[in-house]
């Protein structure tokens, strides 16, 4: 295991203070970036291999290169701090523990793409993170790291902090932009509304995740070669039935089994049964896949539909878990958070929820297995945005790996899992 990078100073109680942050090498990445050309900064990020840590995993440097260079065109940087993917809590951890790192990353990104106004769209429920961030922003502005002539470079940048109001869908980047414009958080049509082309206020916009921008600050401080030698690192939020749930930093490609071991293994006396490797939008993997590397390509290439690294949220479940109950809860979440714009998502999640609820209530039928499969098929590739597309993976993977649990529920009206455990 490499040395920690992103989590290095998170245990320091004063890390949110500008002075302590600077004394530990903070804002060196910003100074270095501002001494380079914007193109060289983007190249550095590109060469680091950094991919977006919000869930989609798009190459960060490439994303920045889509932004037009014409200085007459107004551009914006928007930080997606609306962390809400079930099982994910690394962004909240970074915001609360190292808020200046994000600010540093925002200034670097804005400089690279030529934006003079950046927005942080913070999840409303992140009250403690907001306190930390507001304080850090005020300190950074007072010290001249943000604002006119940032760090004496001649580059101007204002950062505005805005909050959501409770909506998972606002984490989808175009829905986030709608929300930031003061509207219902409903996703936009792509094309033409690719953020890099027509983003916030229809201007070219970079939307980056909190963890992504923290990586950027480290890459510019230490150089891309050093960064790559560290793994490159990623944060995994480990939760569920592990002994020590928490945020763990591991080299990209660490196996699921190794990550669970880092979290103290499964809780005592219990055996691993299954996990979501990348939040509830990913497929559910049984024990046979424990040695899969937690890497974008390795997880995506598995023979399981919807297997992905996603936001790096590993939810581990032990042998006391009823998979039908897990899938029902997952479906209900997407049903309640569906914006209702497109039919497959709005109707599909509702009918799936009803069928699963009926099964858990002891009134399931054997035909319900093909009903569930059929509804999931109807949603696959037909939804307007990734929210609806996040539902079929859990259905398909559990129908395949834990079919007997559905069958037992349908045939007997009872659950056999807790009896076995």
């Amino acid at each position: 295991m490499g040395e920690p990078v992103l989590l290095t100073y998170l245990h320091e109680p004063d890390q949110g203070e500008l002075q302590a942050y600077s004394a530990r090498g903070g804002y060196e990445g910003l100074r270095r970036a501002l001494s380079m050309s914007p193109e060289a900064v983007t190249d550095e990020v590109d060469k680091s291999g950094l991919r977006g840590r919000g869930g989609a995993g798009f190459a960060t440097g490439r994303k920045w290169k889509f932004i037009p260079k014409d200085p007459a065109v107004t551009k914006y940087v928007v930080v997606n701090a609306d962390e809400g993917e079930p099982g994910t809590f690394k962004d909240r951890t970074l915001l609360e523990g190292d808020p200046h790192r994000l600010i540093e990353g925002i200034v670097i990104a804005s400089y690279a793409v030529g934006a003079h106004l950046a927005f942080i769209y913070l999840r409303r429920e992140f009250y403690h993170a907001r306190e930390m961030l507001e304080r850090a922003l005020a300190q950074a502005a007072a010290a001249g790291m943000v604002g006119r002539n940032a760090a004496g470079s001649g580059f101007d940048l204002s950062i505005v902090l805005a909050t959501g109001a409770g909506a998972y869908i606002a984490g989808e980047e175009t829905a986030l932009l709608e929300s930031l414009e003061g509207r219902r958080a409903m996703p936009r049509l792509k094309p033409p509304y690719y953020p890099a082309v027509k983003g916030l206020y229809t201007q070219p916009t970079v939307v980056n995740n909190v963890e992504t921008l923290c990586h950027v600050a480290w890459i510019l401080a230490k150089g891309y070669e050093w960064y790559r030698q560290q793994g490159p690192p990623i944060l995994i939020s480990v939760s569920g039935h592990v002994a020590r749930p928490g945020v763990y930093e591991v080299p990209l490609g660490t196996t699921i089994r190794q990550v669970i071991d880092r979290a103290g293994g499964m809780r005592s006396g219990r055996k691993f049964k299954a996990c979501f490797p990348g939040g509830s939008s990913s497929a559910i993997l049984p024990a046979a896949y424990l040695d899969t590397p937690m890497d974008y390509d390795a997880l995506a290439k598995l023979d399981v539909y919807g297997s992905m690294l996603g936001s790096g949220a590993l939810i581990a479940m032990d042998d006391t878990t009823c998979m039908v109950e897990v899938v029902a809860r997952t479906v209900e979440f997407y049903r309640d958070e569906s914006c209702g714009k497109c039919t497959p998502c709005r109707e599909g999640t509702m009918w799936l929820g009803q069928a699963l609820h009926r099964m858990l209530g002891g009134k399931g039928r054997v035909e319900d297995l093909s009903l569930l499969e059929g509804i999931a098929r109807g949603m696959t590739g037909t939804c307007f945005c990734p929210l609806g597309e996040s539902v079929p993976p859990a259905i398909y993977s559990t129908l395949r790996f834990f079919r007997h649990e559905y069958e037992h529920h349908a045939k007997t009206g009872t659950c056999d899992v807790r009896v076995m455990a």
Partner: protein, 176 residues
């Protein structure tokens, strides 16, 4: 930052916004290239002052921001944390998503129902607490978790829930 901890004002003719709230909304509008971007912030300003989004408060926001009241109301109705009905001084949000479910949030929710004597969505008769469920609060390392007002708690045990409730009850009494 008083979401969920609002001191609900006496009803009557005071359901609209104060001048202070209106100027706070104007300050928010000035932060953005387009004024509507301040709408979510404005809705919280109103909710935290009045207690919930009354028709008068919505109309006041619309007037200050130069937006149709229908648009203000439509936007507000999209989001979970904006309320159109009175709520308790403290909103208790129990996370019921996967990691909390796997760690026994059902038991915590049952305990809260019993202790508060209300169902999910209801407010205690003394107006102190509104009980709600929440989707993943991004606090899975401390599952099962809940928010009371703006404060996060977890991993919860029934005993810890009792302590938190009595602390908030004492705070409520000392305010009145």
């Amino acid at each position: 930052m008083t979401d969920g901890n609002a001191e609900t004002r006496e009803r009557g003719n005071a359901a609209g916004l104060s001048e202070g709230a209106k100027s706070e909304i104007r300050r928010l509008m000035a932060q953005f290239p387009q004024r509507q971007s301040a709408l979510l912030g404005a809705l919280f300003v109103a909710q935290n002052e009045v207690g919930f989004l009354t028709p008068d408060a919505l109309a006041d926001i619309a007037a200050v921001m130069g937006l149709p009241t229908s648009e203000v109301t439509s936007v507000a109705s999209f989001y979970h944390l904006l309320f159109f009905r009175p709520r308790g001084r403290h909103v208790v949000q129990v996370c019921t998503n996967l990691s909390c479910m796997l760690n026994g949030c059902g038991r915590i929710l049952d305990h809260l129902r019993r202790q508060l004597g209300v169902e999910v969505g209801e407010t205690t008769s003394d107006g102190a607490f509104t009980l709600k469920t929440a989707e993943c609060l991004a606090a899975c390392e401390s599952a099962p978790a809940m928010l009371v007002g703006t404060e996060r708690f977890g991993p919860l045990t029934p005993g810890m829930v009792d302590e938190v409730l009595s602390r908030y009850r004492r705070a409520t009494r000392s305010m009145t």
